[in-house]
């Protein structure tokens, strides 16, 4: 038993028998996560895929139970790390004095308001589950590139969240409305219209009163370093086409009846200058469901369900600057309009759509696009995959960042640390019809090969440094004290403010801030109050 017997019993009383476990068998599985080996290496530790082992794992089933657990953590001075569906190292504890609160039992879709286009979900509703339910109303939701199996609540409140449908569904931070939040001291905070004294409802995230969205999640989210989110309202969008979703056959070679009003375009823009111009032309027209730049290899990957199949698509992979656009419509007239616009852009820019001529994807591609499953194809080459960059800016800035990153990546390709994508592996998507853009550099490595893990970690650090030196903005993996303290002085000393927020909201330093920021300390090393 890792917890003191009395402490264990108090936790158990809070969440029920069978929902607390501090045995090594349960807790060790929570120490493991994807890419943990890389973060361990960056922290000067052995590159193993395990973090510290949590003292216990606790499964609350309601906001009240979460509140009780957090208050007990304050009482006993134990840190807490919350997770929803749990993908990624930021779900792991950063000290041996932390417990994991696994929110799996909080899995209700609380409300679907089809008229006002929002829904309210608990942490363990997956994107695919939510989408299946809202499709019944002809609606769609935003899902991050991590895939439909992850939690919309986690993405909306706590993570950076670009996705393949971002042109039409935005970024996770722009989708969050009312929020229910258990603060690190155990108090409950209700944000937006859900916080109104009279007639509270979930429809607005930023009022009444000053918005706390920036504090709550900012751009990249606090990854549970600032408390636990127990319910959230997120925006809904019209489903882009007919919701008839007819799959047949068997996994993985499902056949799919492509909806009548759906069309894919893959065009080689030849270079980044033209890509920048063309992607903006497409997005200005507000017609795309998906609009992404992918490297040639990445285009091969999204069309394949195995590496062997991917290798059969070499002809597609030869493109220099492929732009992938999907248009979809609910009526024939809308579809014809969107096609006419695309035809005009193609003609104007002397572009050719290779789909249906040089290449015809399997129909299941369209099913995966509609169900936001394409990001997971990044794993099929080596099994290991992570992204550097993470810029959120203009298309030009994102492409500039991608260009500057190429030589750094090539260096580590030469060293045999990362798989060879010629250094050009980049995914860039528009947000909200070109309102802004996101770029990241998916990098394939072998998580079981220490040389590869170390080299990939070094490449990530180099990529972050380039972002800093070349003024490209804060990338994805500016997480934890070391990186915030490095970037902060170059970015309006944001790290000082971030730390002040942490100290103000978490006076006892209870929320595990390993992937966020930790409070400042005085000369004696005590937490600044």
């Amino acid at each position: 038993m890792v917890l003191e017997e009395d402490t264990f019993k108090e936790f158990e009383k809070a969440v029920g028998v069978g929902n607390v476990n501090d045995g090594e068998v349960i807790t060790d599985a929570y120490a493991y996560n994807w890419c943990m080996e890389m973060f361990n290496y960056m922290d000067g530790k052995e590159p193993l895929p395990y973090s510290s082992r949590p003292k216990a794992v606790i499964l609350p089933s309601s906001t009240e139970e979460v509140q009780k657990v957090v208050k007990l953590c304050n009482k006993y001075g134990i840190q807490v790390k919350a997770q929803s569906t749990g993908l990624g190292p930021w779900n792991c504890v950063s000290s041996n004095n932390s417990i994991v609160v696994d929110l799996r039992r909080m899995n209700k879709i609380v409300k679907i308001d089809e008229k006002n286009l929002y829904c309210v979900v608990e942490p363990y509703v997956s994107g695919a589950q939510l989408q299946a339910e809202i499709m019944k109303y002809g609606l769609n939701c935003h899902m991050p590139g991590a895939g439909p199996q992850v939690s919309p609540l986690a993405s909306a409140t706590s993570m950076n969240g670009p996705g393949f449908t971002s042109p039409s569904t935005g970024h996770s931070s722009r989708n969050v409305l009312g929020v229910e939040w258990v603060l690190p001291d155990g108090e409950i905070m209700r944000l937006g219209s859900w916080g109104m004294k009279n007639n509270p409802d979930w429809f607005n995230g930023d009022g009444p009163g000053p918005s706390l969205r920036g504090i709550m999640r900012g751009w990249a989210g606090a990854k549970s370093g600032l408390g636990i989110f127990t319910r959230v309202a997120v925006k809904l969008f019209p489903y882009p086409c007919s919701t008839d979703f007819e799959l047949s056959g068997h996994s993985p070679n499902y056949d799919f009846k492509i909806p009548d009003f759906m069309r894919l375009y893959v065009m080689d823009c030849k270079n980044f200058k033209r890509l920048d111009e063309i992607i903006i032309q497409v997005e200005k027209e507000e017609i795309s469901f998906m609009c992404s730049y992918l490297s040639g290899l990445a285009v091969m990957a999204i069309f394949a369900n195995s590496f062997e199949q991917m290798m059969e698509l070499m002809a597609v992979g030869g493109m220099k600057a492929p732009l992938v656009v999907i248009i979809a419509a609910r009526t024939k007239r809308e579809f014809e309009y969107k096609q006419k616009v695309m035809d005009y852009i193609l003609e104007k820019n002397k572009l050719a759509n290779i789909i249906g001529k040089q290449y015809t994807p399997y129909p299941v591609f369209y099913a995966e696009a509609l169900r936001s499953n394409l990001g997971l194809h990044g794993f099929i080459a080596t099994g290991g995959f992570q992204s550097t960059l993470g810029q959120c800016d203009t298309a030009k800035m994102c492409l500039n960042s991608a260009t500057l990153n190429v030589p750094a990546k090539q260096l580590f390709i030469k060293k045999g640390a990362v798989a060879n994508d010629f250094g050009e592996g980049v995914w860039m998507t528009s947000y909200e019809s070109g309102h802004y853009f996101h770029a990241e550099s998916p990098t394939m490595f072998d998580q079981t090969n220490k040389h590869s893990v170390k080299g990939t970690a070094q490449y990530f650090e180099r990529s972050n440094e380039i972002g800093l030196v070349k003024h490209l903005g804060a990338p994805f993996f500016v997480e934890g004290d070391r990186w915030h303290d490095m970037f902060g002085p170059h970015m309006h000393n944001y790290h000082l403010w971030l730390r002040k927020i942490k100290e103000a909201f978490d006076p006892n330093n209870i929320a595990d801030g390993g992937f966020y920021i930790t409070p400042g300390k005085d000369k004696k090393g005590a937490l600044k109050k």
Partner: protein
């Protein structure tokens, strides 16, 4: 799975949680989106397919040692293989095979199987069946009016569960074979196929059972072995050839009877005005896909990127037996088939498999009740399947839950469509029991 492959795979779980759900593009509702019974019951990630891969790695690295807690978690899995289907939609990991290998390792280290499983394994060693029933009463299910032919080329391998516990399945099979004019024989000295032993990781005892059966069958002039038990069928079809080749054909009764119906040799003339839903047994569905032999090379295409040449077949459950039972049901006049949400390769498990029914009966029942909810939601009045384990567990759950559903084995529906009085078959089963 050899040592090298096991070690390579246990280091590669992405912890993506896809193993907890049906394939993502098959999610049709929130209620029926999950695939893993152990996760649905126990909630901690450790119980999932991915969680157990992590445990295998932790055990391999010595981070955790053998313990009762480890054994309980590893054995609280029906080995239904749903996790593997979902994982392999894009990935190349083998969660189910890792699980089987991990259990074998635990057994070698004295940390398995569960005591209740050890008990039935001893029973198999002693009396050739896991129910500890007398071996000499194995054929007592056989009604006197059934015609068998000791010289037939077709062998009906009855299996322990149909012989001792689900006699109505054995009787129905024999009657249909007689009705179709298919001469068949029984093994004089049938012994357990070994499936319940194999799934617990006790390899030596399984191999003993396998060799007894294959020796006995190969001593006869038989070209086809027919099974009504999905577990025996899967074990003969998929597991035996990994250890010993044989030269006869294996067929589940749904395959044989579907052929006979298509060929007009089995005429289903009586109307059966029922609304049914069909439960795909894991052993007849996704797990009944044979391993394709692959003798290729893993070639390093570039640093860190390997490719299998030729392409290595991925066993994703696509070759399970899905159409024959549905064809049979569709051949029955007046019968309406309402499908559940989770079917075929992404069917939800009944909860009985891999020794769970004996070691963790409550877990088995709760899993079956989840499946009953799904069956009830189709509006069907009858739940039908083709496996004696599923039959037992689902019927137990119907009683426990007080469900209005009735359970029938698919062969019983065929008997009804042949104009036979199903009550008499049930009564006969009770009588011979």
């Amino acid at each position: 799975m050899d040592e090298e492959e096991y070690e390579r795979m246990i280091q590669r779980c992405l912890r993506c949680s896809i193993c907890k759900w049906v394939p993502q593009i098959q999610v049709k509702s929130q209620k029926y989106a999950t695939i893993c019974p152990a996760m649905d019951e126990y909630n901690f990630h450790t119980y999932s397919g991915g969680g157990k891969i992590i445990l295998a790695l932790s055990y391999h690295l010595g981070r955790i040692g053998p313990s009762d807690e480890l054994r309980d978690i590893v054995y609280k899995c029906t080995e239904c293989g749903g996790c593997a289907v979902s994982c392999k939609f894009l990935n190349t990991l083998e969660p189910l095979e890792i699980m089987c290998e991990f259990r074998e390792r635990l057994v070698k280290d004295g940390c398995g199987p569960m005591p209740a499983q050890q008990k039935y394994i001893e029973a198999v060693k002693k009396v050739n069946n896991p129910y500890n029933e007398p071996h000499e009463s194995r054929k007592e299910w056989l009604p006197k009016d059934i015609q068998t032919d000791p010289n037939s080329k077709v062998l009906f391998y009855v299996g322990c569960t149909a012989s001792y516990r689900r006699k109505e399945m054995a009787i129905a099979t024999a009657r249909i074979l007689n009705a179709a004019g298919i001469k068949f024989r029984l093994l004089e000295d049938e012994t357990c196929c070994g499936s319940p032993i194999l799934r617990t990781g006790v390899k030596d005892a399984f191999l003993e059972s396998m060799n007894k059966n294959l020796d006995a069958i190969e001593a006869l002039d038989v070209d086809t072995v027919v099974f009504t038990c999905a577990g025996c069928y899967d074990t003969f079809k998929v597991d035996y050839p990994l250890h010993r080749k044989y030269n006869f054909e294996v067929k589940h009764t749904v395959e044989l009877f579907d052929e006979l119906i298509q060929d007009g040799k089995l005429k289903l003339t009586t109307e059966v005005p029922l609304t049914v839903t069909y439960h795909d047994p894991c052993h007849l569905g996704r797990n009944a896909e044979r391993y394709e032999e692959w003798d290729g090379d893993v070639v390093e295409l570039m640093p860190l990127v390997n490719i299998n040449i030729p392409k290595k077949p991925k066993r994703c459950g696509a070759e399970g037996v899905y159409d024959p039972p549905r064809n049979i049901l569709k051949s029955i006049s007046g019968l309406k088939l309402n499908e559940m949400e989770r079917i075929m390769e992404y069917s939800y498990c009944c909860g009985a498999g891999a020794g769970v029914k004996s070691a963790f009966p409550e877990f088995a029942l709760k899993t079956a009740q989840i499946r009953l909810d799904e069956a009830e939601d189709t509006g069907a009045e009858i739940l039908v399947s083709a496996c004696p384990f599923c039959s037992t567990n689902l019927q137990d759950a119907i009683k426990e839950k007080g469900s209005k559903l009735q359970f029938y084995d698919i062969n019983e529906l065929i008997l009804m469509a042949l104009g036979m009085d199903i009550k008499k078959v049930k009564e006969k089963a009770a009588e011979v029991a």
